[in-house]
């Protein structure tokens, strides 16, 4: 076995690696400088469970209304052999799509394994790709996979891939609204990165079959409800930038040796589940284990990483806790105590701190002067 994978397995402990999906893979790009997160993700550690055991449960709940709405919209778009979707692709994107077949790849009969479904997807896409004219098939629920740090992560996108003009396109169905041509930029960015994961996985699959990367378009089709209606609209989103970033971050995951080398040999995040599936690993011990790897906390983590509340607690007193730009403005001074000491002149600036110390002293003087006598 690959020694890296072996080591990661030991760090994760007795449980199976957490299965990645497009969302978790997309999240890898949100704080690539964080060694802690990088290692935990590469090892497939269930970060939510670890954070919970540490006493910092993450609140990433989803409202059932949102879930229901998402499902209903998706079902509507795909109803009747994806009739609405086809109409959109023709009308809105001007694609010349002949009469098409609709293939739901989740129907493989019985409870087929992921590998079997992947093989079936591959076979069907291979056939479509080799047909000279447009195959005219919509593929629903294809099974794709990406190699993440030695493991195959299987992706079960609720998406449809279709072929037009000799190219496959990825379709992403989202239930956030496009109103007068505009959508929430944060949600759109997340959708674009997730779609990029699918584009990448499809390109890998087709590459194995000898097709060039361009056989999967970098323009993905984003389908959302339009305005306040339930009617869908389609917009092409260029995900070239997202692909570049993803490619780079995935390649980083396998470059973990430098982090691993510095860690104690027996390091493990195992939660020691007992027969009742209760985690029994003492929180103190787990905290020590987690703290051996440096995190790179920033408040943005609160929205993207299950470990964030733990890391925030850990970085109390540090300028990182105040935000990336604050930390940057402070010229890299790490501790809030140092900032105040330098500002008040009670601390002698260390090497390289003379300039920020001068500015802080002046800033302190200005604040004192201006706020003198003001409550």
């Amino acid at each position: 076995m690959d020694p890296l994978v072996d080591r990661l397995d030991r760090i994760r402990g007795t449980v199976a690696p957490r299965n990645h999906n497009a969302r978790t893979i997309a999240a890898l790009t949100s704080n690539p400088g964080c060694g802690r997160r990088g290692l935990m993700d590469a090892a497939g550690v269930n970060k939510g469970a670890v954070a919970g055991q540490l006493g910092f449960p993450a609140g990433f709940g989803q409202s059932r209304f949102a879930i229901a709405r998402g499902n209903a919209f998706e079902a509507q778009v795909k109803a009747d052999g994806a009739a609405e979707l086809l109409q959109l692709l023709r009308d809105r994107l001007g694609l010349a799509i002949p009469e098409v077949a609709y293939d739901d790849l989740s129907n493989v009969g019985g409870n087929a394994s992921r590998e079997v479904r992947y093989a079936r997807t591959k076979a069907l896409l291979a056939r479509a790709a080799s047909e000279r004219d447009d195959a005219g098939t919509l593929f629903d629920h294809p099974m794709l996979r990406l190699e993440i740090a030695g493991y195959y992560a299987y992706l079960e996108p609720d998406l449809i891939a279709f072929r037009a003009g000799g190219k496959f396109h990825v379709v992403e169905i989202k239930s956030f609204a496009v109103i007068d041509g505009q959508a929430d930029p944060g949600k759109t960015a997340a959708a674009a990165t997730q779609s990029a994961v699918y584009v990448m996985a499809m390109r890998e699959l087709l590459a194995e079959l000898g097709h060039p990367p361009e056989s999967v378009s970098h323009d993905v089709v984003l389908v959302c409800p339009e305005n306040f209606a339930n009617r869908p609209t389609a917009t092409l989103v260029d995900v070239r930038k997202q692909l570049t970033v993803l490619r780079r971050q995935l390649s980083r995951l396998t470059r973990l040796e430098s982090i691993l080398d510095a860690l104690p040999a027996g390091l493990s995040f195992d939660l020691a589940y007992d027969s009742d599936q209760q985690a029994t690993r003492p929180a103190d011990e787990l905290r020590k284990a987690v703290s051996t790897i440096d995190a790179r906390y920033s408040p943005d983590c609160l929205g993207t990483c299950e470990m964030a509340f733990f890391c925030r607690d850990e970085s109390a007193g540090s300028t990182s806790a105040l935000g990336r730009s604050v930390r940057d403005d402070l010229g890299g001074v790490e501790s809030i105590g140092t900032v105040l000491g330098l500002a008040r002149g009670t601390l002698t600036p260390g090497a390289g701190q003379e300039e920020i110390a001068g500015l802080l002293r002046f800033a302190h003087k200005l604040r004192t002067e201006c706020l003198d006598g003001i409550g």
């Binding site: 609140g59 709940g61 989803q62 409202s63 059932r64 209304f65 949102a66 879930i67 229901a68 709405r69 998402g70 239930s175 956030f176 609204a177 109103i179 007068d180 041509g181 409800p225 305005n227 306040f228 209606a229 339930n230 009617r231 408040p299 943005d300 609160l302 929205g303 007193g317 300028t319 806790a321 105040l322 935000g323 730009s325 604050v326 403005d329 402070l330 809030i336 105590g337 900032v339 105040l340 500002a343 920020i356 500015l359 802080l360 002046f362 800033a363 302190h364 200005l366 604040r367 002067e369 201006c370 706020l371 003001i374």
Partner: protein, 494 residues
């Protein structure tokens, strides 16, 4: 962000209390603002679930939609909200500002709607967009006040883009402009946490109050998004109970339960928002706040009268090329003016410029008030003053400066040394070409500040008419897409 703000945040961490970023309040707080706390249903673009609204902290008006996905119920809610908002808006137009002077009519008041956070502002935009094209006739008719509310909400939302306008305020933004907390800007978006740092309850410190504020059970989110756990465990059963109710009695009871549940979610935010209003009122207003509010009142007066006369400008879905360019021009001029006014009104804002060496404060050590420049065609009064300062000045000869104490006067940097700055003054010294008006030139011993900003009026740019939109921008747009059509009404609501 700047080093001054960063330092203030560090001070806040240490002291456990938010620290002021300004010496004065730069936002107008109306005598009678309308606070609006909206909640929307998760997963929908703009499906109102409930709102709590009113001008009196002791008399919140609670509006609830029993089935947010039902078109009729949704518009009943909007009509109810319209009644409250429109009567408030019209109330602001009741008396005229007699001190306005000139021939221009200006109402003495203007609406000021306060929502808890940026999400509330977006809610106003979406609700405005989803109602202003509705019609009281045709398919799916709505109450006649619905599109009017839509126009006012759209008007307010557009004002919120204007720097210095106080007609639609997100309370978290206003507070963040005035105080630095010991947490990050991102966390400041939580009104309860932000206010916890500024004005912590009981004997808690800021960090303790903010930690409590993050617990959705103790401190429900300020909306419009609801807490998912609330949705799943309380709201869903409550909505289901209403839908299930077999008779009026059961329905009444279910509705009361639903109303109580959403009221519990909104009431803390309502109280916090009013607490913030009171807090802001304790701060003295900056010198230009009234001028900017007068601008708000002018704009309100014009729109109110235009709506009444049926001459109001359309509020299309998207700006045309000409409208977009004109609006950007106005926003840019207002931004420059707002930035300048804040610096001129507030030494702590000016301190940002002092920190970067673009402004300085010092003492006048020499003055030649009667200096006359004879090099030009006409002799001109051009006094020189020498200001001694400890500030690290990074200015170059020729730079134009203004003093907050003498706004009409221009100062030009003549020379800069490590201890002083020599300035040449022009304008704002009266009519004489030999003798400056008394007090118009700083005297030896005066403490003075000079900075790089001026709030001088900038004329608007000239733009082609809509019909003259050039070919580079797609030519004249086809038709004014203002008039609501049946299509708008038919929009199949989710």
């Amino acid at each position: 962000m700047s080093i001054l703000t960063a330092l203030a945040r560090a001070e806040a961490v240490e002291s456990g209390r938010a620290q002021p970023l300004t010496t004065v309040r730069h936002t107008h707080v109306a005598e009678r603002p309308l606070v609006l706390v909206p909640l929307s249903l998760a997963g929908e673009a703009a499906a109102p679930l409930a709102a709590i609204v009113g001008t009196d902290p002791g008399e919140p008006r609670l509006l609830v939609v029993a089935n947010p996905r039902d078109r009729t119920q949704r518009f009943d809610f909007v009509a109810e909200l319209a009644r409250v908002v429109l009567s408030y808006v019209d109330g602001c137009a009741r008396s005229v500002d007699t001190g306005a002077g000139g021939t221009k009519l200006r109402y003495a008041e203007a609406p000021q709607v306060i929502v808890p956070n940026r999400g509330g502002v977006e809610f106003v935009r979406l609700l405005g967009r989803s109602t202003r094209f509705r019609r009281p006739f045709g398919p799916y008719p709505v109450h006649r006040t619905v599109p009017i509310l839509g126009q006012w909400l759209t008007f307010l939302r557009e004002r919120a883009d204007h720097p210095g306008s106080s007609m639609l305020l997100a309370m978290t933004s206003v507070l963040s402009e005035h105080w630095a907390t010991g947490q990050s800007g991102l966390e400041d978006a939580n009104l309860a946490a932000l206010l916890g740092w500024i004005d912590p309850p009981g004997d808690l410190d800021g960090a303790g109050a903010a930690a409590l504020a993050e617990d959705p059970l103790r401190s429900p989110p300020a909306g419009p998004s609801t807490d998912p756990t609330f949705d799943n465990e309380i709201l869903a059963p409550a909505l289901a109970a209403v839908a299930r109710s077999i008779d009026d009695f059961a329905r009444e009871r279910a509705l009361a339960a639903l109303t109580a549940a959403v009221a519990d979610q909104m009431r803390p935010t309502w109280d916090l928002t009013w607490q913030a209003v009171r807090l802001l009122r304790t701060r003295p207003a900056g010198a230009s706040v009234e001028t900017r509010w007068a601008m708000d009142r002018d704009v309100f007066t014009m729109y109110h009268m235009a709506l009444a006369e049926g001459t109001a400008l359309p509020q299309p879905r998207r700006d045309s090329a000409v409208a977009a360019a004109g609006r950007l021009d106005r926003l840019e001029r207002e931004q420059a003016r707002y930035d300048a006014q804040r610096a001129l009104d507030d030494p702590l804002v000016m301190a940002e410029f002092r920190l970067s060496g673009e402004a300085f404060t010092g003492t006048v050590v020499a003055a030649s008030p009667n200096r006359v420049d004879t090099s030009g065609k006409k002799a001109a009064l051009r006094p020189h003053i020498t200001v001694q300062t400890d500030d690290p000045v990074r200015l170059e000869p020729g730079a134009h400066l203004v003093s907050p104490a003498r706004l009409a006067q221009q100062a030009t940097v003549v020379s800069v040394s490590s201890v002083d700055v020599v300035l040449e003054l022009s304008k704002g010294m009266g009519r004489s070409t030999k003798q400056p008006a008394p007090g118009s030139v700083p005297e030896v011993g005066d403490r003075v500040t000079y900075g790089p900003v001026t709030d001088a009026y900038q004329p608007p740019g000239r733009f082609p008419s809509r019909d003259d939109t050039p070919w580079t921008h797609g030519g004249p747009p086809p038709v004014i897409e203002y008039h609501a059509s049946d299509n708008d009404a038919v929009e199949d609501w989710s």
